[in-house]
Amino acid sequence: MNDMRLTERAVTEKAKMSARKVQVYYGSNHALKDVDVDILDKTVTAFIGPSGCGKSTFLRCLNRMNDTVASARVEGKIEMDGHDIYDTRVDPVQLRAKVGMVFQKPNPFPKSIYDNVAYGPKIHGLTRSKAELDEVVETSLRKAALWNEVKDRLNAPGTGLSGGQQQRLCIARAVATGPEVLLMDEPCSALDPIATAQVEELIDELRSQFSVVIVTHSMQQAARVSQRTAFFHLGYLVEYGETGTIFTNPSDPRTESYITGRIG
């Protein structure tokens, strides 16, 4: 009983993704400079920093979402399990099944709840039969803590759910392809406090299965859900470390200023 907190804090030191000397340019704008970071396996990592600091840009490098931005250019090396994800042989669509993403605003497809979750497994050919697909849909909805609320109306449109439920539906959709890393870009900023708490609890549960990387404007959210925190400022990764240390005794004065509300 006494070691409960210690278990809580214990994370693996095994890196799931590692970035070295990552630079991102949008045209002539050097948006991200020399970012080195290891995203640990089965750990929640939070990226914090003021607007325009590069945290979302970096998040989008991790599943090559920046490929879709014409003016963006990414340099440096990002590896997942030792394999370069920017290798020309890597199919970005396959990569994104492994490195899923959830966005700021819940964006369910204008389809049924069932089809929203089934979509990924279908296009990636992950299931062979209807029964298998049903099972993936149910497990994914359970993992997203949504099953009990929607099991009787799987054919209802996903857009008819409440905001918090829609966001959990999007998480179920991302979970359905069996990701190894889940990226979340401000997943709670459109949600009320209770729905936020539910999503945060969900993030804490998902951590037992894969890594979660979350970009958040709420420092309290970063403090609550993550085990590792990275602070970005003006395109630099200023400080990266254990969340408790970052929030009680950061080593860089810029981190201290930001988390205490002195710079933004």
Binding site: N2, M4, R5, E8, E201, D204, A223, R224, T243, F247
Partner: protein, 236 residues
């Protein structure tokens, strides 16, 4: 603590830090009883164990304070959660002091066991230590049960410990008046008695924290105090 938080990790954090406080309470209670036993039996080995054991109590206090700082920084506790964290910090500090008194008792035991024993005095000290440990235990039980009524009872019962102290004070004074060669031992025993009496005050302090935790306000009434003996001065 009736209902659980949506974010269950918050509950685990709060429970863990309180479990640490209870463990600390157990160590302090054992240290006080062992120290009193060692004094009464002139058991220097046991006294040494109590002295060394204080390190574990201090380490636990440091850990609790660090955990609480993390909890405040990471979870931004509000209302009863905030009071829980604040009271945990104060209770840990009170227990740490009580542990120091047990250690001091054990130190004086090493000196006293080289001297002529004062008849009956160490037995009285042991009884007083037992009474104080019961008080401490009840205060911590009231804390876990969030029981302000029991806590109020602990506050009242500290009066009994004060009376035991006053009786022991008279007893020691008599020994000193009878034979000046008793003065050194009696002085040591008096410090011991005073320290145990202070542990009682810390138990009362913990009980007050329970009342604050449950009601949100510190008890405002003055706690009943036993008359101080023959100009011996008040507490502290």
């Amino acid at each position: 603590m009736v209902t659980t938080h949506i974010l269950s990790a918050f509950d685990r954090d709060l429970e863990a830090v309180q479990a640490h406080v209870m463990r600390m309470g157990g160590l302090v209670e054992a240290a006080l009883l062992d120290a009193a036993e060692a004094l009464d039996n002139r058991d220097e080995e046991l006294a040494l164990r109590v002295r060394n054991g204080d390190r574990a109590i201090d380490a636990l206090e440091l850990e609790i304070q660090t955990e609480c700082a993390r909890l405040i920084a990471l979870r931004a506790p509000a209302a009863s959660d905030l009071r829980t964290v604040l009271t945990v910090m104060r209770i840990a500090a009170a227990l740490e002091r009580a542990g120091d008194y047990a250690k001091n008792l054990a130190k004086r035991t090493a000196v006293l066991s080289q001297m002529q024993p004062l008849e009956g005095a160490t037995g009285s000290v042991k009884r007083m230590a037992r009474a104080v440990v019961v008080l401490l235990k009840d205060a911590l039980d009231a804390y876990i049960a969030r029981d302000a009524v029991s806590a109020e009872d602990v506050r009242r019962r500290d009066h009994d410990v004060d009376q035991m102290y006053n009786a022991l004070f008279r007893e020691l004074l008599t020994h000193m008046l009878e034979d000046p060669r008793n003065i050194t031992a009696a002085m040591h025993l008096h410090f011991i008695a005073k320290n145990i009496e202070r542990v009682g005050d810390h138990a009362t302090g913990i009980a007050e924290q329970v009342i604050y935790l449950v009601t949100g306000a510190m008890p405002s009434d003055e706690r009943p105090k036993a008359e101080v003996v023959q100009g011996a001065g008040g507490r502290g």
